[in-house]
Amino acid sequence: MKNEATYAPIALGRAVSLMQRHPNIQRVRVPQVRNGVIDVEAAISVGLPSRWLAPGRSPNGVLPVEPVLFRFPEGFPLRAPRILLRQDFDRSLAHVNPGPPNEQPSPCIYDGNLDELLQRAGIAVILNQLVVWLENAALGRLIDPAQGWEPVRRDSLRDVFVFDADTMRSRVNRDAGHRLFRLEYVLKQSSGRSAIFGTVTDSTTLSPTSAKDAFRKVILRDGVQYGVSVALFVWPGRRATGKLWLAGEYRPETVCDISSLVARAKDYGCDTQLANGLKWVANCLKGGVTSDATVPVAIILCARRPFHLIRSDSDLELCPYIAELDSKSSFKASGATGVRPAGHRDAISVRLLRRMSDTDSSRENPRWIQIGVGSVGSKIALHMARSGAAPSTVVDSGYLFPHNAARHALPPVGDRPDRACFLGKAEAVSNAARQLAQDCAPFNLDVRDVLRNEEQMNSLLPRRAWAAVNSTASLSVREALASCRNLRLRTIETSLFSDGRIGLVAVEGPDRNPNCGDLISSVYELALRDSDLRRVMFEEPDSVRRVDTGLGCGSPTMAIPDGRVSIFAASMAEAIRLLQIEGLPGSGQILIGKLSDDGIGVLWRKFEALPCKVVRERRDSASPLVRISQLAHGRILEEIGRWPGKETGGVLVGRFSDAAETFYVVDVLTAPPDSLRSATHFVLGKLGLRQSLRDYARSCNYALYCLGTWHSHLSPSDPSARDYETARALEVSRLTPSAVVIRTPTDYRLALAT
């Protein structure tokens, strides 16, 4: 059954009744049905200043009571009425929609879609807007120089050209000129009219002889035509006085043929260049198009305005048109040749993306590296790229396989999804960034190998870059980054834990202190103290499992839906974007996000991570390290303060990294009550200690455990023989390396068994 659009008479009745009650509407005439539309005429009172009431009109001709026609379309109330002013209303006012002179002028009362405004706020708001528009028109306030020159509204036009306005403007100098650009277009026929969507790309030096292969036309299907043609860009120069040609008068968009286009170009001071350009285009077309054909040509006039355009720092307004030139008239543009105003859309550029993301476009994009572009990393990279801040480098050794389609940000491309495999993940993200007008160098490498190769590391992870974001979810990559003491670049880790119920953003501090090893240790410590986090992170079964991705093939991963990954990845990308805007923090930072119980939201908490005290056994770069967190350091000092004149001590807890040869001390446990303290030595007792250490390690599923002991010396002295003896005793008693840390009044010292 044909679904015919019909009027909703009740809705129309309601609208008319509401119009009658609007305070500015003096009278409403009975609706008239004409050619399938319904016209409702209303008399609208306009608040004119007292001194214009005597002459009965504003200086620009607005009346105290304006007749306005509301043309309700068949689709009402899904479509808003068209608003038409009296035929002799001054069209030279800004904010009059483009239209031919024989049609009643239509005011542009709203910076957006009127159909949407109708749905959102109803007919009353449209009436309110119209009243404001009429009053601003009368008062000459439609253009406010403080806000900027209002360009002709072109967003409702069928034909649209995409080009980078700034690139085009950069061609304009103080002398008049014209230039040809390549135009790729798609032409569609609908409702008996053609509509062209074209992209203006590189400038081209076309000549009648070189034009042979320049023009192409291919019929695709259903009458849709793809072709290549040219865009003629014309700009003004100076007046006879030598001053720049300024087009300071607002003109309504009424161009409908070459004659009116030339007249408009004359206003803008570029009519000669337009005539020359059109002649050249005709000659090129004659040389390049052999068959009978009509070729669409874009013409972009440039007007230099007396002040900058609204929301722009440029005073150059670009006004695109489309002319369809045909071979029968040798492509010559005669006065009657039809010309239509066309819309403009900015080409994809970093500026456009930043504008859409409400990000300052003048700020220089920091150079940053994305390590790992799997499900989380690819989403972060694309979020960032869409905000105009793509990573400059992506490193990932993996390839896209079919199972990645479940969660990777980039779906398979091409006709057959299975053919989209074997593309490196880094390359796929790099390609996507290029589509978003940004350079992003792909490296199909394992970052652990990169870190082993000093030259490659300095090239891919240079210290002058902003940061490296590690989204590999790989413990070994984290360890490799933490253990690489020559890496000077701060890293930011983004990871998901526990079936995607916990998210982490860990930002290393200045000079990589705290580093990613310290930060993850602190995260475990934080989770230990938070019963909710502890349950999710440590008490429930290990959520990472092998998911089959083919016969005999599997991937160790969390089986979670894409949406949940995105919930976290979007927050992570925002955190990174804000860090780029506000600058990296003056210390380390931990953001822990927890999925809400209903599974549809995340609550993030922020923790500051202060630098660790780093203790070396030897001065060489390979020396084992003890990195003592601020929490542990504070507790050590507190304990020493409690025993003036005596040595005291306790137990170090944290984790040990084989790769980094590092003890990460997150906390200290108090010495048991049977410990002995004197001015010359400290003896760690044993009462209940074994049990409490066991409980501690079990409560975090052995993520943190005993690392050895600490004790104080009353003078700045090295470890004693007894200290080394204790260290050796610890060493032989367990498989994990142990540390004996000494706190002197000035610093820390370290005694290791080996």
């Binding site: 608040g47 004119l48 009431l53």
Partner: protein, 387 residues
């Protein structure tokens, strides 16, 4: 900053807020009746409408830079104690939401004792006390006053009572150059009345408080153009005052010219005639001098009636005959007569607001509010029987 003049729908009474281009505000009279504060009552909530238009100071207080009471009648000062802070500025309570009056402009009637001819309502007495407090502050300090203590006395009183007021005394025909202690080029304010009248005159002529009404001629600046609109506001000044003013200024009638006139005493017949409207109806005589004084309208001028809707009846004020006179004056300059109580409708009057443009005042359109369209209508407004 936009220059505006707002007349609030307060029935038969006045309450006019001027916002100058400098951003400073001057409130002339206040009439916030109890019913206006009652959410269950349909009387327009002019207290809220006023507050919406005021600025907040650093301490979060709403304030007016200056407040002038044209004369101490209840319909010009109702709600003063309820909505405005009266007292030393240092004692403004932390939790108060009252409006702070930075500078008070008072007529010299505050120095008079209550008498048979001068009975004051509670709000007027409170204002009188506040004015006296501020004058005392001035006399005690002999130096510049701080906000909240500042005061100007508009017009001299008999018997030299105001002779020692120095800088805070504005004599008739003088300009008020400073608002809240600051020179303000966005308003040229001239004091035309109260004319100095002895108490004996008052008794002889059976004149009332209305004759003490402050009459101000205010030239408003718009977009840097001085006197873009001349606004004449006159409280309840009656025919005798207008006759005197005409006699005084007949040779220079431009003193009485206006783009906007707040018709005296809520469109009262007694601004134009000594006769009783209800007794003599159409045979009541117009004082030609008083009419001349009120007829100096400039092209396109607005004459405003701060009153209830004007009906063709015996009522005065507002008086239908006075309306006809004003309409005639307006028509002669292709201007218009507007009654605050009738706009946009008699049932639902709203603040009548004018924007001052370089081409004079213009009526600011009020958008149709969602609350009008999506309000509950009768539900909750009246008992609704259901069978």
């Amino acid at each position: 900053m936009k220059t505006t003049v707002t007349f609030f729908p307060v029935g038969n009474g006045d309450m006019t807020l001027l916002k100058f281009e400098s951003g400073r505000t001057l409130l002339i009279d206040v009439n916030i009746r109890d019913a206006a504060d009652d959410p269950e009552d349909d009387t327009p909530d002019v207290g809220a409408e006023l507050r919406e238009r005021l600025n907040q100071d650093d301490a979060g207080r709403l304030y007016v830079d200056a407040f002038v009471l044209s004369h101490p009648d209840a319909d010009h000062c109702n709600g003063l104690r309820e909505h405005f802070y009266l007292g030393p500025p240092s004692e403004f309570p932390d939790d108060s939401d009252k409006i702070f009056i930075r500078e008070l402009w008072s007529s010299p009637i505050v120095f008079r004792r209550a008498s048979r001819n001068l009975t004051l309502c509670d709000d007027a007495q409170a204002l009188q006390a506040e004015a006296k407090r501020r004058v005392k502050r001035f006399r005690d300090s002999r130096g510049p006053l701080v906000e909240g203590d500042r005061i100007l006395v508009l017009g001299e009183d008999k018997g030299g009572k105001t002779d020692d007021l120095g800088d805070i005394l504005i004599k008739v025909d003088d300009a008020i150059q400073r608002i809240n202690g600051e020179y303000d080029r966005s308003a040229n304010i001239q004091l035309l009345a109260p004319l100095t009248i002895s108490e004996d005159d008052l008794v002889e002529e059976s004149l009332s408080k209305n004759h003490s009404s402050v009459i101000l001629r205010i030239g408003l600046t718009a977009n840097g153009n001085e006197n873009a609109c001349i606004f004449l506001t006159a409280g309840d000044a009656e025919v005798g005052i207008w006759e005197r003013l005409w006699k005084k200024h007949a040779a220079q009638p431009e003193v009485l010219q206006y783009d906007m006139l707040l018709s005296p005493h809520h469109c009262s017949w007694h601004a134009l005639s000594y006769d009783s409207w209800s007794e003599l109806r159409e045979s009541a005589a117009v004082s030609s001098d008083a009419r001349n004084a009120l007829a100096q309208a400039l092209e396109g001028a607005f004459i405003i009636a701060g009153s209830r809707p004007v009906k063709d009846d015996d009522c005065d004020p507002p008086c239908i005959r006075a309306k006809r006179e004003y309409e005639e004056i307006a028509k002669s300059v292709r201007g218009s007569f507007v009654c605050v109580g009738e706009r946009p409708s008699e049932d639902n009057p709203e603040p009548l607001e004018f924007e001052i443009t370089t081409a004079g005042p213009r009526h600011l359109s009020r958008p149709m509010r969602v609350s009008v369209i999506r309000g509950a209508g009768a539900i909750g407004g009246q008992p609704l029987a259901h069978g």
